[in-house]
Amino acid sequence: MDEQGGAACSPPSLIYFAHHRGRGAEPVPVNRYKHVVSLLAFVAPAFIIYSLFLLIPTIGGMYYSFTDWNGLNRDYSFIGLGNFVEALREDPDFVNSLLFTLKYVLFMIVLQNVFALVLAVFIETKTRTKGFFRTIFFMPNMISTIISAFMWTFVFSQVLPQLAEKTAISFLDQLWIGDPKVSFYSIIIVSLWNGVGYMMIIYLAALQGVPQSLKEAAVIDGASPFQTFRKVTLPMITHAVTICLFLTLNGAFKVFEVVYGLTGGGPGRSTQVITMNIYEEAFSNNFRYGYASAKSVILFIFILLFTFIQIGVMKRKEVEA
């Protein structure tokens, strides 16, 4: 309702504003004031909800990261940067989970985008079956991540060993999720299966926006299909690459459900990702909420830094048609 009101409302006020501006210098401050008020009025409902449920808890979490609160006691003390120092210096599990997450992020960024782009390019060349393939590849994305993780647990621990028995492909019969060396790749497989579809849709949309005339001009100039793709299509879809890299980077850092559903971080802590380490600290170990909040802040800073760098680099490469 608010949005409707906004759409119907702001143009007249803008007209009013523009109309009155011409009359002279005197009424302008009043109008500008009114303009600001109307802007605030329309932003307010969303902003109140946003700050109530996201902004205030976030700031609260940052505050707790400087305390030793355990989530239960009524009193706690302020310990400055103690939590941060402990997390980075004296907590090998946290550092290991951080490294494991970085490895995961690296694999995901490269593989997810390469697969999505390749799929998008192939689907784009089909004219008749485009809709069908698009739906098929997007389908896994509609299943919730945790459910797909449980499905794949069944596939890895029951279906593949059975297949191996029937077909005598001994490669299939191994500890897919029980062996720490293999389970990393199992996690990647499931994440890709789940996430590629979404990125593919974004790339498809971008590919459709590449002007046909440019490609034709390239072909007339004698460019091979690969050259056309490399020199014309790819630069034209850089904005989509930026978005997809951003989404993948962000999502991969925050990965939780897939690992939780498949291995539970195990055996031991060999596949524990950073979010899981935080969860364990806050809700199952010693209930150190303050310490866990500090770890979340570290994660937040990491994501912020990486995203800024990524966006900064990518923005410079974008071109306009």
């Binding site: 608010d2 009101g5 006020s13 009524r74 621990s157 195990g266 055996p267 170990n285």
Partner: protein, 433 residues
Amino acid sequence: MNKMTKGVLCTMLTATMLAGCSSNNTNNTGAANDAGTGSSVAKSVTLKMFIAQPRFKEQYDNYIAQFVKKEKAEKNIDVTVQLEMPTADNASQILKTRLASNDAPDIFALHAVNEIPSYYKAGYLEDLSGQPFVSKLLDSVKPSVTTTDGKVVALPLETLSWGYLYNKTIFAKYGLTPPTTLTELKAVTEKLKANNETPFVLSYKESWIPQLVLPLAVGGMMKTEDAEFVDKMNKDEGSFTEMKSAIFDVFDLINENGTAKATEVGGDDGAAAFAAGQGAMWLMGPWYAETILKSNPDLDFGVAPLPINDNADATLINLSASTSLAVSPTSKNKEVALDFLNYVLDDTDSNALFQAMKFNPVATVHTYEMYPWIAEATSYVKAGKSVQDPAIPQSVKDEVGKGLQAYYAGQMTQDDVLKALDKAWKSYNKVNK
């Protein structure tokens, strides 16, 4: 301009509605509390309960209805019970939030061994030592709800007596009896292997399952050689190296003679494997009885204590309590809340409740017939072959689960695991000073 005013009004309306919601809430609670304070004189009381066992809703509802009737008849108090039953997964989060925000339910359920120490320390548990039900509790149950300074602070509902499960049919077939020492256990496994039976079902996907060996080992050692272990650990003076052979001798034996792919088998799959006779023994408590019988209703299995060394006195059944009821010290209807607690162990009505929920007997008033495996475990308890679940902090139990998983997967050595445990206990001491 007119439309802009509308927009502003809309916003204000939304804001008022939100504000309205919150003020309504306060009014409600206020009214309930007012009714509560006047309770003992007047007649209506609202009792808030928080029990995280939605699967027993019907049984609790019935029992509460009986209680309401009784309270009306005996004390002329109209009791309205608000029973809240969240799922067990997030119950302790909800409860903690409630307690921390001064909105404690009058009666709430918590885990006896894991949660009583920290809740008691934070001052959220009423001292119940003087209540009539305390004298009815069995001696084997009472210690699990008693604090270190000797106060009974909760009423145990679910209790456990466990060691490992064994398949009686397979044992009978080869003329075996549950072993009492580690050497005998070795002999049993050899004999089973010689007859092409896998001695143990392994299910280490969930870290709490390998963890089970720790309470058994520590319990056995504390009753025989190392009585002060937990105290020493709490004072940062002990080390898990004292427990090295108790934990790993038997754990290694189990692992060497177990089913394959243990790190991919969870609790339910393990239950199915045990029910199908894929292994003769399973390191697990009788709480999986229902799941086992679901996949094989005819399975004849028993509970026996796990040997950890060659001292037969250290082969003991572990006794502990999980779900227990406590009363909040800030409750405004404490009298009625205590009445309810005492009614849970009522001389006549309690039997039906505990039997309906398939809980073990916890008090002298419980006379119903037990499941055969419970009876078997109880017979060990009666013979004095039992030990109270040692008060190992939950964070250490989590750590040992992860450590033993990694040990099984070959990523950690015995010393690594023990070192990690010492560290976990130290940090527990540091946090809970």
